[in-house]
Symmetry: C2
Subunit: 210 residues, 2 copies
Amino acid sequence: MKRPVPTVTVQRLPVYLQCLESLSAGQSNVSSDELATLAGVNPAKVRKDLSYLGTFGVRGVGYDVEQLRFQIRVELGLESDWPVVIVGVGNLGRALANYAGFGERGFHVVGLFDADPTKVGTSVDGLVVEPLEDLHDAVRDRGATIGIITTPAEAAQDVAEALAVAGVDSILNFAPTVLKPPSGVEVRRVDLSTELQVLSFYLHRRRAEA
Amino acid sequence: MKRPVPTVTVQRLPVYLQCLESLSAGQSNVSSDELATLAGVNPAKVRKDLSYLGTFGVRGVGYDVEQLRFQIRVELGLESDWPVVIVGVGNLGRALANYAGFGERGFHVVGLFDADPTKVGTSVDGLVVEPLEDLHDAVRDRGATIGIITTPAEAAQDVAEALAVAGVDSILNFAPTVLKPPSGVEVRRVDLSTELQVLSFYLHRRRAEA
DNA sequence: ACATGTGAAGCGCTTCACAGCG
DNA sequence: CGCTGTGAAGCGCTTCACATGT
Protein backbone atom coordinates (compact mmCIF):
# COMPACT_ATOMS: atom_id res chain seq x y z
CA MET A 1 0.00 0.00 0.00
CA LYS A 2 1.21 3.51 -0.82
CA ARG A 3 1.42 5.86 2.12
CA PRO A 4 3.77 8.80 2.68
CA VAL A 5 7.26 7.57 3.52
CA PRO A 6 8.42 8.76 6.97
CA THR A 7 11.63 10.79 6.93
CA VAL A 8 13.41 8.29 9.18
CA THR A 9 12.59 5.55 6.71
CA VAL A 10 14.07 7.58 3.87
CA GLN A 11 17.28 7.85 5.87
CA ARG A 12 17.44 4.11 6.40
CA LEU A 13 16.83 3.10 2.79
CA PRO A 14 20.45 3.84 1.77
CA VAL A 15 21.59 1.55 4.58
CA TYR A 16 19.39 -1.30 3.41
CA LEU A 17 20.66 -0.76 -0.11
CA GLN A 18 24.22 -0.99 1.09
CA CYS A 19 23.45 -4.19 2.97
CA LEU A 20 21.80 -5.74 -0.08
CA GLU A 21 24.84 -4.91 -2.18
CA SER A 22 27.09 -6.63 0.32
CA LEU A 23 25.27 -9.96 -0.05
CA SER A 24 27.01 -12.66 -2.04
CA ALA A 25 26.03 -12.66 -5.71
CA GLY A 26 24.53 -16.13 -5.33
CA GLN A 27 21.94 -15.09 -2.75
CA SER A 28 18.64 -14.34 -4.43
CA ASN A 29 16.44 -14.13 -1.36
CA VAL A 30 16.62 -12.36 1.98
CA SER A 31 14.40 -12.31 5.07
CA SER A 32 13.60 -9.27 7.18
CA ASP A 33 15.49 -10.93 10.03
CA GLU A 34 18.66 -11.32 8.00
CA LEU A 35 18.49 -7.79 6.62
CA ALA A 36 17.80 -6.45 10.10
CA THR A 37 20.89 -8.16 11.49
CA LEU A 38 23.04 -6.76 8.70
CA ALA A 39 21.67 -3.25 9.12
CA GLY A 40 21.75 -3.39 12.90
CA VAL A 41 18.05 -2.66 13.42
CA ASN A 42 14.87 -4.38 14.54
CA PRO A 43 13.24 -6.83 12.04
CA ALA A 44 9.80 -5.28 12.45
CA LYS A 45 11.30 -1.94 11.48
CA VAL A 46 12.68 -3.43 8.28
CA ARG A 47 9.29 -4.86 7.34
CA LYS A 48 7.45 -1.65 8.10
CA ASP A 49 10.02 0.44 6.22
CA LEU A 50 9.80 -1.79 3.16
CA SER A 51 6.02 -1.88 3.30
CA TYR A 52 6.00 1.83 2.43
CA LEU A 53 7.52 0.97 -0.95
CA GLY A 54 4.83 -1.57 -1.76
CA THR A 55 4.15 -5.18 -0.85
CA PHE A 56 6.50 -7.44 -2.72
CA GLY A 57 7.78 -9.70 0.01
CA VAL A 58 6.62 -13.30 -0.10
CA ARG A 59 5.17 -14.71 3.12
CA GLY A 60 7.03 -17.71 4.39
CA VAL A 61 9.95 -16.88 2.09
CA GLY A 62 11.23 -13.31 2.27
CA TYR A 63 12.23 -10.68 -0.28
CA ASP A 64 13.77 -11.09 -3.72
CA VAL A 65 17.15 -9.37 -3.45
CA GLU A 66 17.24 -8.03 -6.99
CA GLN A 67 13.70 -6.70 -6.90
CA LEU A 68 14.20 -5.12 -3.52
CA ARG A 69 17.36 -3.36 -4.65
CA PHE A 70 15.54 -2.02 -7.66
CA GLN A 71 12.55 -0.83 -5.67
CA ILE A 72 14.72 1.03 -3.19
CA ARG A 73 16.68 2.63 -6.02
CA VAL A 74 13.48 3.76 -7.69
CA GLU A 75 12.06 5.13 -4.45
CA LEU A 76 15.24 7.10 -3.76
CA GLY A 77 15.36 8.35 -7.33
CA LEU A 78 18.68 6.62 -7.95
CA GLU A 79 17.53 5.38 -11.32
CA SER A 80 17.58 8.99 -12.48
CA ASP A 81 20.70 10.85 -13.41
CA TRP A 82 21.69 13.71 -11.10
CA PRO A 83 24.32 16.11 -12.39
CA VAL A 84 26.34 17.45 -9.47
CA VAL A 85 28.80 20.31 -9.11
CA ILE A 86 31.40 20.46 -6.35
CA VAL A 87 32.63 23.80 -5.08
CA GLY A 88 35.87 23.75 -3.12
CA VAL A 89 38.66 21.45 -4.30
CA GLY A 90 40.51 20.71 -1.07
CA ASN A 91 41.16 17.19 0.14
CA LEU A 92 37.49 16.68 0.90
CA GLY A 93 36.34 17.96 -2.47
CA ARG A 94 38.82 15.67 -4.18
CA ALA A 95 37.73 12.73 -2.04
CA LEU A 96 34.12 13.29 -3.08
CA ALA A 97 35.01 13.77 -6.75
CA ASN A 98 36.81 10.43 -6.69
CA TYR A 99 34.18 8.64 -4.61
CA ALA A 100 32.91 5.66 -6.56
CA GLY A 101 29.77 5.41 -4.45
CA PHE A 102 28.39 8.53 -6.12
CA GLY A 103 28.53 7.31 -9.70
CA GLU A 104 26.93 3.99 -8.81
CA ARG A 105 23.96 5.86 -7.46
CA GLY A 106 23.32 8.18 -10.37
CA PHE A 107 25.29 11.15 -9.10
CA HIS A 108 27.61 12.42 -11.80
CA VAL A 109 30.09 15.16 -11.12
CA VAL A 110 29.85 17.61 -14.02
CA GLY A 111 31.94 20.43 -12.62
CA LEU A 112 34.63 21.28 -10.05
CA PHE A 113 35.10 24.87 -8.94
CA ASP A 114 37.55 26.71 -6.73
CA ALA A 115 38.38 30.31 -5.93
CA ASP A 116 42.10 29.60 -5.71
CA PRO A 117 43.78 30.44 -9.05
CA THR A 118 46.56 27.95 -8.38
CA LYS A 119 44.01 25.14 -8.32
CA VAL A 120 42.11 26.26 -11.40
CA GLY A 121 43.25 24.27 -14.40
CA THR A 122 44.49 21.30 -12.41
CA SER A 123 42.86 17.97 -13.06
CA VAL A 124 40.94 15.75 -10.62
CA ASP A 125 39.51 12.42 -11.64
CA GLY A 126 39.42 13.49 -15.29
CA LEU A 127 37.80 16.86 -14.61
CA VAL A 128 39.51 20.23 -14.91
CA VAL A 129 38.99 22.62 -12.01
CA GLU A 130 37.22 25.80 -13.13
CA PRO A 131 37.14 29.30 -11.62
CA LEU A 132 34.18 30.36 -9.49
CA GLU A 133 33.18 32.95 -12.08
CA ASP A 134 32.21 30.16 -14.44
CA LEU A 135 29.88 28.52 -11.93
CA HIS A 136 26.68 30.16 -13.05
CA ASP A 137 26.94 29.35 -16.74
CA ALA A 138 28.21 25.84 -16.06
CA VAL A 139 25.31 24.97 -13.78
CA ARG A 140 22.86 26.24 -16.35
CA ASP A 141 24.50 24.65 -19.39
CA ARG A 142 25.10 21.27 -17.79
CA GLY A 143 21.77 21.13 -15.98
CA ALA A 144 23.23 20.59 -12.52
CA THR A 145 20.53 20.07 -9.90
CA ILE A 146 22.71 19.43 -6.86
CA GLY A 147 25.58 21.49 -5.48
CA ILE A 148 28.12 20.19 -2.97
CA ILE A 149 29.96 22.75 -0.84
CA THR A 150 33.40 21.73 0.42
CA THR A 151 34.86 25.20 0.91
CA PRO A 152 36.12 26.73 4.14
CA ALA A 153 33.33 27.88 6.45
CA GLU A 154 33.78 31.57 5.60
CA ALA A 155 33.00 31.08 1.92
CA ALA A 156 30.09 28.68 2.29
CA GLN A 157 27.18 31.13 2.53
CA ASP A 158 28.25 33.10 -0.54
CA VAL A 159 28.72 29.90 -2.50
CA ALA A 160 25.28 28.71 -1.43
CA GLU A 161 23.72 31.94 -2.73
CA ALA A 162 25.64 31.64 -5.98
CA LEU A 163 24.50 28.06 -6.45
CA ALA A 164 20.90 29.06 -5.79
CA VAL A 165 21.05 31.89 -8.30
CA ALA A 166 22.67 29.57 -10.83
CA GLY A 167 19.70 27.27 -10.49
CA VAL A 168 20.49 24.22 -8.37
CA ASP A 169 17.59 22.71 -6.42
CA SER A 170 19.52 21.20 -3.54
CA ILE A 171 22.74 21.80 -1.66
CA LEU A 172 24.80 19.41 0.41
CA ASN A 173 26.98 21.41 2.77
CA PHE A 174 30.18 19.90 4.16
CA ALA A 175 31.55 23.22 5.36
CA PRO A 176 31.55 23.45 9.16
CA THR A 177 28.90 26.13 9.39
CA VAL A 178 25.12 26.30 9.46
CA LEU A 179 23.82 27.84 6.23
CA LYS A 180 20.86 30.14 5.92
CA PRO A 181 19.02 28.32 3.13
CA PRO A 182 18.46 30.42 -0.01
CA SER A 183 14.75 30.42 -0.82
CA GLY A 184 13.53 27.49 -2.85
CA VAL A 185 16.63 25.44 -2.19
CA GLU A 186 16.81 22.35 0.02
CA VAL A 187 19.95 22.35 2.15
CA ARG A 188 21.36 19.41 4.10
CA ARG A 189 24.49 19.55 6.18
CA VAL A 190 27.12 16.93 6.87
CA ASP A 191 29.52 17.80 9.64
CA LEU A 192 32.48 15.46 9.78
CA SER A 193 33.15 16.30 13.40
CA THR A 194 29.57 16.02 14.67
CA GLU A 195 29.69 12.26 14.88
CA LEU A 196 33.06 12.43 16.58
CA GLN A 197 31.52 14.72 19.18
CA VAL A 198 28.67 12.30 19.72
CA LEU A 199 31.22 9.51 20.30
CA SER A 200 33.03 11.81 22.68
CA PHE A 201 29.83 12.37 24.66
CA TYR A 202 29.35 8.66 25.27
CA LEU A 203 33.04 8.01 26.04
CA HIS A 204 33.03 10.92 28.45
CA ARG A 205 29.88 9.67 30.11
CA ARG A 206 31.23 6.13 30.39
CA ARG A 207 34.33 7.47 32.14
CA ALA A 208 32.29 9.61 34.49
CA GLU A 209 30.29 6.56 35.55
CA ALA A 210 33.33 4.36 36.10
CA MET B 1 17.97 19.88 36.93
CA LYS B 2 19.97 16.82 35.85
CA ARG B 3 18.08 14.27 33.81
CA PRO B 4 19.41 11.86 31.20
CA VAL B 5 20.19 13.69 27.94
CA PRO B 6 18.10 12.38 25.00
CA THR B 7 20.15 11.08 22.08
CA VAL B 8 18.64 13.62 19.70
CA THR B 9 19.73 16.40 22.00
CA VAL B 10 23.28 15.06 22.02
CA GLN B 11 23.26 15.22 18.24
CA ARG B 12 22.11 18.82 18.26
CA LEU B 13 24.64 20.09 20.81
CA PRO B 14 27.45 20.25 18.21
CA VAL B 15 25.19 22.39 16.03
CA TYR B 16 24.48 24.83 18.84
CA LEU B 17 28.18 24.97 19.57
CA GLN B 18 28.91 25.81 15.96
CA CYS B 19 26.28 28.54 16.00
CA LEU B 20 27.71 30.06 19.18
CA GLU B 21 31.17 30.12 17.63
CA SER B 22 29.84 31.98 14.61
CA LEU B 23 28.56 34.87 16.74
CA SER B 24 30.53 38.09 16.65
CA ALA B 25 33.14 38.31 19.38
CA GLY B 26 31.35 41.31 20.89
CA GLN B 27 28.10 39.48 21.57
CA SER B 28 28.05 38.25 25.13
CA ASN B 29 24.42 37.24 25.34
CA VAL B 30 22.06 35.18 23.21
CA SER B 31 18.35 34.32 23.44
CA SER B 32 16.81 30.96 22.63
CA ASP B 33 15.00 32.63 19.74
CA GLU B 34 18.20 33.89 18.19
CA LEU B 35 20.01 30.60 18.65
CA ALA B 36 17.02 28.74 17.25
CA THR B 37 17.03 30.88 14.11
CA LEU B 38 20.74 30.29 13.60
CA ALA B 39 20.42 26.56 14.13
CA GLY B 40 17.25 26.27 12.10
CA VAL B 41 15.12 24.73 14.85
CA ASN B 42 12.23 25.62 17.16
CA PRO B 43 13.04 27.95 20.12
CA ALA B 44 11.29 25.67 22.62
CA LYS B 45 13.54 22.85 21.47
CA VAL B 46 16.62 24.95 22.17
CA ARG B 47 15.43 25.75 25.66
CA LYS B 48 14.53 22.16 26.44
CA ASP B 49 17.82 20.88 25.03
CA LEU B 50 19.83 23.35 27.09
CA SER B 51 17.80 22.64 30.20
CA TYR B 52 19.29 19.11 30.23
CA LEU B 53 22.71 20.65 30.86
CA GLY B 54 21.52 22.63 33.85
CA THR B 55 19.67 25.90 34.36
CA PHE B 56 21.94 28.82 33.64
CA GLY B 57 19.83 30.95 31.38
CA VAL B 58 18.64 34.26 32.80
CA ARG B 59 14.92 34.95 32.50
CA GLY B 60 14.16 38.09 30.61
CA VAL B 61 17.71 38.17 29.26
CA GLY B 62 18.94 34.95 27.68
CA TYR B 63 22.12 32.88 27.92
CA ASP B 64 25.68 34.00 28.48
CA VAL B 65 27.50 33.00 25.30
CA GLU B 66 30.79 32.11 26.92
CA GLN B 67 29.23 30.08 29.70
CA LEU B 68 26.95 28.26 27.31
CA ARG B 69 29.86 27.33 25.04
CA PHE B 70 31.75 26.00 28.01
CA GLN B 71 28.81 23.98 29.33
CA ILE B 72 28.20 22.36 25.96
CA ARG B 73 31.88 21.53 25.61
CA VAL B 74 31.92 19.96 29.07
CA GLU B 75 28.78 17.95 28.39
CA LEU B 76 30.18 16.63 25.11
CA GLY B 77 33.50 15.84 26.74
CA LEU B 78 35.31 18.31 24.49
CA GLU B 79 37.33 19.65 27.38
CA SER B 80 39.07 16.29 27.55
CA ASP B 81 41.80 15.25 25.18
CA TRP B 82 40.94 12.41 22.79
CA PRO B 83 43.85 10.80 20.99
CA VAL B 84 42.67 9.59 17.59
CA VAL B 85 44.20 7.29 14.98
CA ILE B 86 43.19 7.38 11.33
CA VAL B 87 43.43 4.23 9.22
CA GLY B 88 43.39 4.74 5.46
CA VAL B 89 45.27 7.70 4.02
CA GLY B 90 43.32 8.44 0.84
CA ASN B 91 41.88 11.85 0.09
CA LEU B 92 39.31 11.48 2.83
CA GLY B 93 41.86 10.38 5.43
CA ARG B 94 44.05 13.34 4.51
CA ALA B 95 41.08 15.71 4.65
CA LEU B 96 40.28 14.54 8.17
CA ALA B 97 43.92 14.67 9.28
CA ASN B 98 44.05 18.31 8.16
CA TYR B 99 40.64 19.23 9.47
CA ALA B 100 41.02 22.09 11.92
CA GLY B 101 37.62 21.40 13.47
CA PHE B 102 39.02 18.28 15.14
CA GLY B 103 41.85 19.91 17.05
CA GLU B 104 39.62 22.69 18.34
CA ARG B 105 37.38 20.09 19.90
CA GLY B 106 40.01 18.05 21.68
CA PHE B 107 40.53 15.43 18.99
CA HIS B 108 44.23 15.00 18.34
CA VAL B 109 45.45 12.80 15.55
CA VAL B 110 48.29 10.72 17.00
CA GLY B 111 48.73 8.25 14.17
CA LEU B 112 48.08 7.70 10.46
CA PHE B 113 48.14 4.17 9.05
CA ASP B 114 47.89 2.65 5.61
CA ALA B 115 48.36 -0.78 4.07
CA ASP B 116 49.90 0.69 0.90
CA PRO B 117 53.72 0.61 1.16
CA THR B 118 54.03 3.54 -1.26
CA LYS B 119 52.10 5.74 1.19
CA VAL B 120 54.00 4.61 4.29
CA GLY B 121 56.70 7.12 5.13
CA THR B 122 54.98 10.03 3.40
CA SER B 123 54.03 13.00 5.51
CA VAL B 124 50.56 14.46 6.10
CA ASP B 125 50.00 17.51 8.24
CA GLY B 126 53.25 16.87 10.10
CA LEU B 127 52.58 13.18 10.73
CA VAL B 128 54.39 10.31 9.04
CA VAL B 129 52.18 7.53 7.67
CA GLU B 130 52.91 4.22 9.36
CA PRO B 131 52.33 0.62 8.23
CA LEU B 132 49.27 -1.27 9.48
CA GLU B 133 51.52 -3.71 11.36
CA ASP B 134 52.45 -0.93 13.76
CA LEU B 135 48.83 -0.10 14.58
CA HIS B 136 48.53 -2.27 17.67
CA ASP B 137 51.59 -0.98 19.49
CA ALA B 138 50.92 2.61 18.48
CA VAL B 139 47.36 2.58 19.83
CA ARG B 140 48.59 1.12 23.10
CA ASP B 141 51.62 3.37 23.50
CA ARG B 142 49.85 6.59 22.55
CA GLY B 143 46.64 5.80 24.42
CA ALA B 144 44.35 6.23 21.43
CA THR B 145 40.70 5.86 22.37
CA ILE B 146 39.08 6.58 19.03
CA GLY B 147 39.79 5.04 15.63
CA ILE B 148 38.66 6.54 12.33
CA ILE B 149 38.33 4.21 9.36
CA THR B 150 38.76 5.76 5.92
CA THR B 151 39.80 2.65 4.03
CA PRO B 152 38.02 1.04 1.09
CA ALA B 153 34.92 -0.93 2.09
CA GLU B 154 36.63 -4.33 1.72
CA ALA B 155 39.25 -3.57 4.36
CA ALA B 156 36.99 -1.90 6.91
CA GLN B 157 35.85 -4.91 8.94
CA ASP B 158 39.39 -6.24 9.41
CA VAL B 159 40.60 -2.80 10.43
CA ALA B 160 37.75 -2.51 12.91
CA GLU B 161 38.74 -5.83 14.53
CA ALA B 162 42.37 -4.74 14.64
CA LEU B 163 41.43 -1.43 16.27
CA ALA B 164 39.31 -3.25 18.83
CA VAL B 165 42.10 -5.68 19.69
CA ALA B 166 44.53 -2.78 19.94
CA GLY B 167 42.28 -1.23 22.53
CA VAL B 168 40.25 1.65 21.11
CA ASP B 169 36.85 2.27 22.70
CA SER B 170 35.06 3.82 19.75
CA ILE B 171 35.20 3.69 15.98
CA LEU B 172 34.00 6.20 13.45
CA ASN B 173 33.51 4.44 10.13
CA PHE B 174 33.62 6.43 6.88
CA ALA B 175 33.96 3.34 4.70
CA PRO B 176 30.81 2.69 2.67
CA THR B 177 29.86 -0.52 4.47
CA VAL B 178 27.97 -1.50 7.60
CA LEU B 179 30.37 -2.86 10.20
CA LYS B 180 29.66 -5.70 12.58
CA PRO B 181 30.70 -3.98 15.82
CA PRO B 182 33.50 -5.77 17.69
CA SER B 183 32.34 -6.44 21.25
CA GLY B 184 32.81 -3.61 23.69
CA VAL B 185 33.37 -1.05 20.97
CA GLU B 186 30.96 1.71 20.03
CA VAL B 187 30.72 2.12 16.25
CA ARG B 188 29.17 5.03 14.40
CA ARG B 189 29.00 5.30 10.64
CA VAL B 190 29.17 8.33 8.39
CA ASP B 191 28.20 7.66 4.81
CA LEU B 192 29.06 10.54 2.52
CA SER B 193 26.52 9.43 -0.03
CA THR B 194 23.62 8.81 2.36
CA GLU B 195 22.70 12.47 2.57
CA LEU B 196 22.98 12.80 -1.19
CA GLN B 197 20.51 9.95 -1.53
CA VAL B 198 18.13 11.64 0.88
CA LEU B 199 18.31 14.79 -1.26
CA SER B 200 17.70 12.67 -4.31
CA PHE B 201 14.56 11.22 -2.73
CA TYR B 202 13.03 14.64 -2.22
CA LEU B 203 14.08 15.95 -5.65
CA HIS B 204 12.67 12.85 -7.26
CA ARG B 205 9.44 13.20 -5.35
CA ARG B 206 9.12 16.87 -6.23
CA ARG B 207 9.46 16.02 -9.91
CA ALA B 208 6.93 13.23 -9.68
CA GLU B 209 4.41 15.67 -8.20
CA ALA B 210 5.00 18.34 -10.81
C1' DA C 1 5.38 -24.39 8.74
C1' DC C 2 7.20 -19.99 8.14
C1' DA C 3 7.94 -15.12 7.24
C1' DT C 4 5.41 -11.06 5.79
C1' DG C 5 2.25 -7.08 6.59
C1' DT C 6 -0.04 -4.35 9.93
C1' DG C 7 -3.34 -2.79 13.74
C1' DA C 8 -2.48 -1.28 18.22
C1' DA C 9 0.16 -0.24 22.19
C1' DG C 10 4.21 1.93 23.88
C1' DC C 11 7.68 5.28 23.94
C1' DG C 12 10.19 9.40 23.08
C1' DC C 13 10.57 13.70 20.88
C1' DT C 14 8.37 18.11 19.60
C1' DT C 15 5.64 21.88 20.37
C1' DC C 16 2.54 24.64 22.85
C1' DA C 17 1.42 27.65 26.33
C1' DC C 18 2.13 29.70 30.51
C1' DA C 19 3.93 30.05 35.18
C1' DG C 20 8.05 31.81 37.18
C1' DC C 21 11.65 34.96 37.71
C1' DG C 22 14.91 38.67 36.83
C1' DC D 1 7.90 43.57 30.46
C1' DG D 2 10.81 39.79 28.40
C1' DC D 3 12.63 35.39 28.15
C1' DT D 4 13.55 31.12 30.46
C1' DG D 5 12.11 26.60 32.23
C1' DT D 6 8.72 23.09 32.03
C1' DG D 7 4.18 20.49 32.62
C1' DA D 8 1.12 18.65 29.40
C1' DA D 9 -0.71 17.68 24.97
C1' DG D 10 0.28 16.21 20.41
C1' DC D 11 2.65 13.67 17.08
C1' DG D 12 5.48 10.28 14.93
C1' DC D 13 8.37 6.42 15.26
C1' DT D 14 9.28 1.85 17.28
C1' DT D 15 8.05 -2.48 18.76
C1' DC D 16 4.96 -6.10 19.72
C1' DA D 17 2.11 -9.71 18.49
C1' DC D 18 -0.70 -12.02 15.49
C1' DA D 19 -3.66 -12.48 11.51
C1' DT D 20 -2.68 -13.38 6.77
C1' DG D 21 -1.04 -15.63 2.88
C1' DT D 22 1.79 -19.14 0.41
